[in-house]
Symmetry: C2
Subunit: 332 residues, 2 copies
DNA sequence: ATGAAAGCGCTAACAC
DNA sequence: GTGTTAGCGCTTTCAT
């Protein structure tokens, strides 16, 4: 025979299914005596309610979803993701809400994944890696699925939004470099499609003034190296490079060294995201910590709140911190 | 009105629910004409089958589960996990199978999570971080849930098992160090409860002979630093330390340097797992790459195979590789 | 090739 | 305080 059902528990306890259901949910008063019998019977049979059945009846999956459009390879070397997930889970776990992860490679696969979620696989989604005028926002709005957007979304939306101020630490960093005599400061950005890449690049431009030393990378070590090579070949090469993540920064740093340049004396280098190893490199890599764990917690809390029927709210977290280390130490 | 159901699509196409269902599943011949009408109607209404309903009817969730008992903090700084997930997803995504992630903090929470999965949240699980005589194995056996064990399980089990040979690269590494004149080689292991920690420590002992220089860490940077401090205070301090992961190795390395020791000349250092940054440190960190991506793929494939009714199979992957870098370069 | 109807295992009115 | 009875939205016999 198959797994026990609520019916089995009911007959074992000599009550009806409704009573069993309520004994567990507490949604109506049950006498202590029968409650105890029900619990005992359930224990005895090792019964746990079937989640699909419950989801079908309540229209609640007790799960939230995250759809990743990133290439699995990039996911694998990403420092943001595991910490973010850990933060999300730290609020989901105590409430026994599950996290449904789906990776999609194509736009249509991504759309199907969101549709499946809206259709009952999960009760809401956290949207990462926001693009300018992201198509997912109207889609989710149309589907009527609660969602929390991570990062700034410029268009109209009725969704909760968890933002951070990425511009401030970049300004702070550039100001630091300027104050220490750097005049040629370059920036290797992330893909400009991402709002966060654009914000960081924008902040850079606000201080530096022109795009001559701006290069667009894609967050991979490879692009970090290649663009560093390009920048260092310039006749009037930069004395400092600010990268949009630590992976690119480290690849660039080691490439510069392979050319015989000393860091920070010949070239100052800074990253973004503060990978957990960055403090341990030598020289230590200056970076911006963004507390992905906290952002995960807050995003999950907001989503749960919205799913429960609360009105969406937006917050701007104060959680980016410039970590100055030796890779940008003052030049002598 | 709520989301469209299969009934809405059926009436829009002028057929019955059964026909709609079969038009999509292909489980019975449908005339091209009606099929086209059905597809059009579904498209028009933006209909996607409800997963809980389908799961209830078919007893298949179209999802697999992973339950993490790790502390969210450790998860966050783990290099294995994201790459492993990426590998898993690369086989799930094309088949539109979802991944359900649950983090549990307590043993009972962990058990509930597995029970919920067995009860329909997912069709099978991948079991990570195997312990000696892991209680989860008999539990899952009792629940009758397909499972794939990652790593060696010594007891009896009818589950598929994806193993790697962790001992070989450790032997190779120690032999390399011995050949280069190191006589005092220490090991900072992971928690001995884990089978993989034990295997690595065992391999170390097979070459080194005694436990004098063996210390048990917990994979955190902090323990890497503390145990390194302890080892370096020994009257006859080690000339080489092999760590059970890169995080501990890097923390140890930078601690040693802070003491004025040169790496590798005064102290050789090696890690395990080959974090993506390790090749970029200076000196580059010698480590053992374990291809978590591939292990994720294989584990997922096996699980899907078992869920489909195949007989469980075990494989030993040949995917560990010693990456010799400057942190263990020959002493002059 | 298609329709009708009976569940899948639960919850939620509605009775008493 | 507890039982009865409909569904929730699918899939899947069994008919036709």
């Amino acid at each position: 025979m198959g797994r026990p059902t609520i019916g089995d528990v009911a007959s074992a306890a000599g009550v009806t299914k409704a009573t069993v259901s309520h004994a567990f949910s507490g949604k109506r008063p049950i006498s202590e005596a029968t409650k105890a019998r029900v619990i005992a019977a359930a224990e005895e049979l090792n019964w746990v309610p079937s989640s699909p059945a419950r989801a079908l009846a309540t229209r609640r999956a007790n799960a939230i979803g995250i759809v990743l459009a990133r290439d699995p390879e990039i996911l694998a070397s990403d420092t943001f993701f595991p910490a973010f997930i850990a933060g999300v889970e730290s609020v989901l776990a105590p409430r026994e809400v599950a996290l449904v992860l789906q990776v999609a490679r194509t736009r249509s696969g991504e759309e199907r994944a969101y549709r499946a979620i809206a259709q009952g696989r999960a009760d809401g989604v956290i949207v990462l890696d926001l693009h300018q005028d992201d198509w997912r926002v109207p889609l989710l709005q149309g589907l009527g699925t609660p969602a929390v957007l991570l990062g700034a979304y410029d268009g109209q939306s009725s969704f909760s939004c968890v933002r951070t101020d990425d511009a401030a630490p970049v300004h702070e960093l550039i100001d630091h470099l300027l104050a220490h005599g750097h005049t040629r400061i370059a920036h290797v950005s992330g893909p400009m499609g991402y709002v966060h890449s654009r914000v960081r690049a924008q902040a850079y431009l606000e201080r530096v003034g022109d795009e001559e030393l701006l290069r667009q990378g894609d967050f991979t070590a490879r692009s970090g190296r290649d663009l560093t090579a390009e920048l260092l070949q310039l006749p009037d090469r930069p004395s400092a490079i600010v990268y949009a993540n630590d992976t690119m920064a480290i690849a660039g740093l080691s490439y510069a060294r392979s050319l015989g340049l000393r860091v920070p004396d010949d070239l100052a280098v800074a990253g973004f995201d503060d990978d957990h190893l960055s403090a341990h490199l030598s020289p230590g890599l200056t970076s911006v910590s963004t507390d992905p764990h906290r952002r995960g917690e807050v995003a999950a809390e907001h989503l749960l709140h919205d799913i429960a029927g609360g009105t969406p709210r937006s917050v701007t977290l104060d959680c980016t911190r410039l970590r100055l280390r030796d890779s940008t130490a003052s030049r002598r």
